[in-house]
């Protein structure tokens, strides 16, 4: 199964289970969780089911396109189900079967792994899912996001697509993954990986990035002051990415790290609270029909 067939199959699978197929969100971010379709939608009482592919940028993992498994940017397949259904693990295992990983033929384990995103005021309990000794999925029951209790609880499934594709295709190197017949992952992304690595690890102008961080933080605050959650959150995402580049560049001293974390946590908390307030003022419109017959 090639890379894009995998995505199409997962899309079909989760669409059949009532998920909205969302699209990647166009601001740089370190994880699919930060897409507003997960970060905001897991808050409050409204139900939500969504699946999407999200580019995830991890400047610290940049390896010039030379490491078989570590990438500046990889693609995450992200599913969020709220409230978490009772059969969510079986649904997940069925989704693996749909892309060719049948459980009888492999060794699938759920190994404790608790997720934490301090800058997002977020944590949850769950597992890393192993297939024949390889971590293929992060599965989390969100307990808190943006400093707020997640109630009802949302289940999040995050799959690193490159790694899973290399497993399914039996290739040792993500760059050898077949995107579609005649085109490999490396054909498309190896050069990009190299350039982004050189930038993040060698070239990035730390002073400029720090300045942008300060400005983005201030602008997020201005937008929040007017109750404009969406533009504020875009600037929050920018802060997060700028910090990640600074960190990869080795430009964050240990003494500064905690202060940066506090600033980002403050922003995400305010954004989360502002979102919830807006939804409440709107009367939590997605609750329609859910409680009516309950």
């Amino acid at each position: 199964m090639d890379f894009q067939d995998m995505i199409l199959t997962l899309h079909r699978f989760w669409a059949d289970r009532g998920c909205m197929l969302a699209q990647p969100y166009d601001v740089e971010k370190g994880a699919g969780t930060m897409n507003p379709a997960t970060f905001f939608r897991c808050l409050g009482p409204e139900p939500w089911r969504v699946a999407y592919v999200e580019p995830s940028r991890r400047p610290a993992d940049a390896r010039y396109g030379e490491n078989p498994n570590r990438l500046y940017q990889h693609w995450q397949y992200q599913v969020m189900l709220k409230p978490s259904p009772a059969d969510v693990l079986d649904m997940y295992l069925d989704s693996l079967a749909a892309i060719g990983i049948r459980r009888r033929e492999h060794d699938i384990r759920f190994v404790e792994d608790n997720w934490e995103w301090p800058a997002g005021g977020a944590w949850g309990l769950g597992w890393e899912v192993w297939c024949d000794g390889m971590e293929i999925t992060q599965f989390t029951y969100f307990q808190q996001v943006g400093g707020l209790e997640v109630r009802p609880v949302a289940a999040e499934i995050t799959i690193g697509l490159e790694r899973l594709a290399s497993f399914i295709q039996g290739v040792p190197d993500v760059f050898a993954v077949q995107w579609l017949p005649g085109l490999t992952y490396g054909d498309v992304y190896r050069r990009t990986e190299y350039e982004q690595s050189v930038y993040a690890l060698e070239l990035a102008d730390a002073d400029l990035l720090r300045r942008h961080f300060d400005e983005s933080e201030a602008e997020a605050g201005r937008a929040l002051a007017r109750g404009l959650v969406a533009p504020a959150y875009d600037f929050v995402l920018r802060c997060s990415h700028l910090f990640n580049v600074l960190d990869a560049r080795g430009a964050v001293a240990p003494a500064q790290r905690a202060a940066y974390m506090d600033r980002m946590r403050g922003l995400t908390r305010r954004a989360a609270a502002a979102y919830l307030k807006v939804r409440e003022e709107m009367g939590f419109p997605l609750l329609k029909g859910v409680r009516a017959d309950g």
């Binding site: 060794d107 024949d132 029951y141 009802p152 497993f167 001293a253």
Partner: protein
């Protein structure tokens, strides 16, 4: 009599938390039965990542009827002047469901009261259990618990089913969104789907049919034997901690042997073992000669079908992991350890205590000699390497390895490797002088810093692991009388300037070390009173304190000697408290023959150790007895009295010069 079965079906529980959860169930369910007045027999615990279960044999099918006398109003209140029951008495009788004529007057608490005999008919076990089991399940604690779905229930991971049976009858109750029943679930892969449990006694058979090894002890032995068989003729050393973890990751273990390319062995063995153990939960395999083999033992949760696919997958993952480790190793070797030292200033040592650069500078001041100095300078630099960043447990080991590659002298490398020892309770201790000095200096510096900031560990909270560090210090010094721990601790505190209150820190940390040493001695089986006697002396050489404890025990093991020894001390010590501390005993001031005799004997007594010391003290007994039996110590003349009291004080002090004998009981 019936058998009770309770199975809590969950999503995969954390391997680290499941055994404790099962132990709680095994303790609390029998306690609940006792509380419900339900007689019961032995309990058997079952547990896997997906279920915690307990079966209790011989459970009474109903509670016995309960008869208890309930106290009501006093006789004076209960009967009117006419002898008829008052309204209070009638109300009490009604409340207890008895006829007023059945009330009895009985003495209680110094008066007389009305009593009613209340009969509570016993209820069926199923009924009372159904009321109490939900709270029992919800009350099981986890280090971290969670909510799921729309419910408010908290547990280690979501509960998905509950089986509750008394023989073949269900015990019906509701917990959150779940109802108890007889439906369990088999192995996720080998027997997915619901499984009916016919009766409590059929549980193991149902589990076996559903491909679940439910008995954790039997499952662990199955893994142990399977790993050994898979590795033969080579051997896989079973790391018990790893076995315990792996055991709680599987319901149907199938151990297997995998291989990796021999070229991977070019990376230091400690790194490979750490990758296998920590990242992959594999058991490393060694040749009969003890060399690390290019093989590993893994444990599949499943059967032998498609095992080749599973093995190939695991081998591929391990190759990638080793490639990563190789990459880190090669990167690390591009720079010498020494060149990294200046960057330690960028690494935080501990909150409020500055950076690692300052820490290393302090450490260098605490040790002496060129080997220890050089090792102190280099020993923290491996924290800046990729491999130690990835595997913190390799600190010291990698430092020693990289130092060796850099051409540092062998004794320096050894000291770097040993400065982190002992790694755990009971772990290996440093062997070289420099390694020992560094290991001590490192821990004492940690203790000093945290105590200076007032971070004294409390009963439950020890976030900086200071207890462990104190115990490491005491273990290193166990057989040694150098250095003096008190002086070494003072030097470590003096290493910080401008932090906290050194006097308070010194007082607190000394008390803390003393308490830990007391704990170690008592844990080792020594008598409380002897430990307190030894630690009652102002002495900080740890090896000396242990030697004194052994001496005291040797003395007490000889009853006649012990009697003379302790009698000399006690008879003298009793009066010695009256002595003027500044008064000196003068032989020429002795005014009684017995006084002079004891004085001469004391002056002539040799200063020996252990049993010999005790004999020297014991030999004073006739002279002590003679003086105390025949001579008035508290004589009317002040000068005479002072001289005699001073003599007794000196004898007591001589006897007790290695331990506070006043604390010895018996």
């Amino acid at each position: 009599m019936a058998e009770l079965l309770l199975e809590i079906g969950t999503e995969e529980l954390p391997a680290a938390a499941a055994p404790s959860a099962l132990a709680q169930l095994a303790e609390r369910l029998p306690a609940l039965l006792a509380d419900l007045r339900l007689e019961h027999g032995a309990a058997t615990a079952f547990g896997t990542p997906r279920r915690l279960a307990l079966r209790v044999a011989g459970v009474a099918e109903r509670q016995p009827d309960l008869e208890e006398w309930v106290r009501g109003p006093s006789r004076a209140v209960g009967f009117g002047p006419d002898g008829a029951p008052s309204r209070a008495a009638l109300g009490f009788a009604r409340g207890q469901g008895v006829d007023p004529s059945a009330l009895e007057i009985r003495p209680a608490g110094g008066g007389e009261y009305l009593f009613a005999l209340r009969r509570t008919p016993g209820r069926p076990a199923g009924e009372v259990l159904a009321e109490r089991l939900p709270a029992l399940i919800a009350g099981i604690d986890f280090p971290r618990s969670m909510r799921w779905g729309e419910g408010d229930l908290r547990f280690g991971r979501p509960i998905r089913w509950i089986v509750a049976l008394l023989d073949s009858d269900t015990v019906p109750f509701v917990l959150g969104e779940l109802s108890s029943g007889r439906t369990t679930h088999g192995h996720r892969t080998l027997a997915p789907g619901p499984v009916e449990v016919a009766s409590a006694s059929a549980y193991e058979a149902a589990m076996a049919t559903a491909c679940v090894m439910a008995d954790p002890a039997a499952r662990a032995e199955h893994i142990r034997a399977g790993v050994a068989a898979a590795a033969a003729p080579a051997t896989a050393r079973i790391d018990e901690g790893l076995l315990a973890e792996v055991n709680w990751l599987v319901e149907h273990p199938t151990p297997f042997l995998g291989e990796f390319p021999k070229e991977a062995l070019a990376v230091p063995e400690a790194v490979l073992v750490e990758v296998m153990r920590v990242q992959q939960r594999y058991f490393p395999v060694r040749s009969p000669e003890g060399r690390l083999a290019a093989q590993f033992c893994g444990v599949r949760d499943g059967n032998g079908e498609h095992l080749a696919t599973v093995i190939a997958g695991n081998e591929r993952v391990l190759r990638a992991r080793f490639a990563d480790a190789r990459f880190f190793y090669d990167e690390d070797r591009k720079r010498t350890l020494a060149s990294r030292v200046p960057e330690l200033g960028r690494v935080t040592f501990a909150e409020g205590l500055g950076d690692m650069g300052a820490k290393v500078a302090r450490l260098a001041r605490l040790v002496s000699g060129p080997t220890a100095q050089r090792a102190a300078h280099l020993c923290k630099a491996d924290r800046l390497t990729h491999l130690v960043d990835e595997f913190p447990e390799l600190e010291g080991t990698m430092g020693a390895h990289y130092a060796q590659l850099d051409g540092e002298p062998a004794d320096v490398c050894q000291a770097i490797g040993e400065h982190v020892l002992p790694r755990a309770a009971g772990g290996d201790l440093p062997q070289s002088q420099a390694g020992r000095d560094l290991a001590l200096g490192d821990r004492l510096d940690n203790l000093a810093g945290h105590f200076l900031l007032g971070r004294v560990p409390t009963g439950s909270a020890d976030p900086f692991g200071l207890r462990r560090q104190a115990i490491a210090v005491l273990r290193i010094l166990r057989e040694r009388s150098e250095p003096d721990l008190g002086q070494a601790m003072s030097a470590a505190i003096a290493g910080y300037s401008g932090v906290g209150d050194p006097a308070a820190a010194s007082r607190e940390v000394r008390r803390f070390l003393r308490e830990r040493l007391r704990g170690l001695m008592i844990e080792a089986g020594h008598r409380y009173d002897l430990v307190d006697a030894v630690l009652g002396a102002e002495e900080w050489r740890v090896g000396e304190l242990w030697a004194r404890l052994a001496s005291l025990e040797a003395i007490l093991a000889e009853p006649a000697l012990a009697d003379d020894f302790l009698t000399v001390y006690r008879r003298c010590a009793n009066l010695a408290t009256k002595a003027d501390p500044d008064a000196k005993f003068r032989l020429e001031g002795a005014s009684a023959v017995e006084e002079e005799a004891l004085g001469r004997a004391l002056l002539a007594a040799p200063h020996l150790e252990g049993l010999a010391h005790a004999r020297a003290v014991a030999s004073l007994r006739p002279a002590v007895d003679a003086l105390l039996d025949r001579v008035l110590i508290v004589a009317p003349e002040p000068a005479v009295r002072a001289n005699r009291l001073a003599l007794l004080r000196d004898v007591a002090a001589f006897a007790a010069r290695f331990a506070d004998l006043g604390r010895v009981v018996a």
